[in-house]
Symmetry: C2
Subunit: 173 residues, 2 copies
């Protein structure tokens, strides 16, 4: 019976990538990191992920060089995307687009726009208004028609994303 390691040995870079990000929680954590989530408690509250799983997935992402972990204010650790992690953006963006097409009956929950001119950004990362090819930090995430109304007890991440928010800008609560 093949194991993950057997497959890795074949030098298939897709299989090796999927060892790191080919799992539901992992990609949702990476998505939240693009939104600017940096603290363990904020990932946990936003994703409602069991803490043991979150801890294990964050460690894997740090070991794999997708996230860094560094001390922040109040001795809380902060998790941030590395350059290698930021390069996952096209994967996330294309998967969100596929989901928006097939699983968003009320329309997308979030839109990706160019922060400078509010232009729509195509899947290749080009602003449809100004024609500029965007870096991830040039994106604004805004709410779309599929966004649920904000609950009074919404977590800090959900509250931050109820307003236009620049990708990678820290959500600090």
């Amino acid at each position: 019976m093949a194991t993950t390691r057997d497959y890795t040995a074949e030098d298939c870079s897709l299989a090796r990538s999927l060892e790191i990000v080919g799992e539901r929680w992992t990609l949702l954590i990476v998505r939240d990191a693009f939104y600017g989530v940096q603290r363990f408690a904020d990932f946990a509250a936003h994703l409602r992920i069991p803490r043991a799983i979150l801890s294990e997935r964050l460690s894997l992402l740090v070991r794999s060089g997708v996230l860094t972990k560094s001390p922040g204010p109040g001795r809380r650790e902060l998790y941030r995307l590395t350059d290698k992690g930021i390069e996952l953006f096209p994967v996330l963006r294309t998967l969100v687009a596929w989901g928006d097409k097939h699983y968003a009956p009320r329309g997308p929950r979030r839109h990706f726009r160019h922060a400078d001119d509010n232009g729509e950004v195509n899947l290749a990362g080009v602003c449809q208004d100004c024609g500029k090819s965007l870096a991830v930090r040039d994106y604004l995430v805004t709410t779309g028609p599929g966004a649920a109304p904000l609950d009074t007890d919404a977590d800090v991440v959900t509250r931050a994303l109820a307003h236009p928010h620049r990708l990678l800008d820290p959500i600090t609560g």
Copy 2:
């Protein structure tokens, strides 16, 4: 503790997409389907995936409308990508590119080229030679420097992919 279903209820299209394709084997099966693998035995031999897992993942992909299952010659079932499944190509392509950059020390195992002119194709699906925006059927998959030498006992899929092969063209062995 949140379950998958709880998260789904939030209408997050990424989470819903990941329920279907956010798992290592599932995306490798989808990749093989792009290569033209259609038969259960060929997926099993190429991926060396336990048959029970393969059976379960194929059923999920059929239920989700990513693959169709239909009778083929000799009463063997054939699995083929639907239009919805074919729309996953940008996800696969961007993830392969990320893996090629970070996990392919000898270079990519496979290249994606335009079948008409052998031009390189960028991540947005545009041929760098002729400028045409390609459909998936316009791609040729060819071996790259990271491809392992062909074993004498290689499976039918590995043998077929040792030569340039048009995406979605059935691999029949």
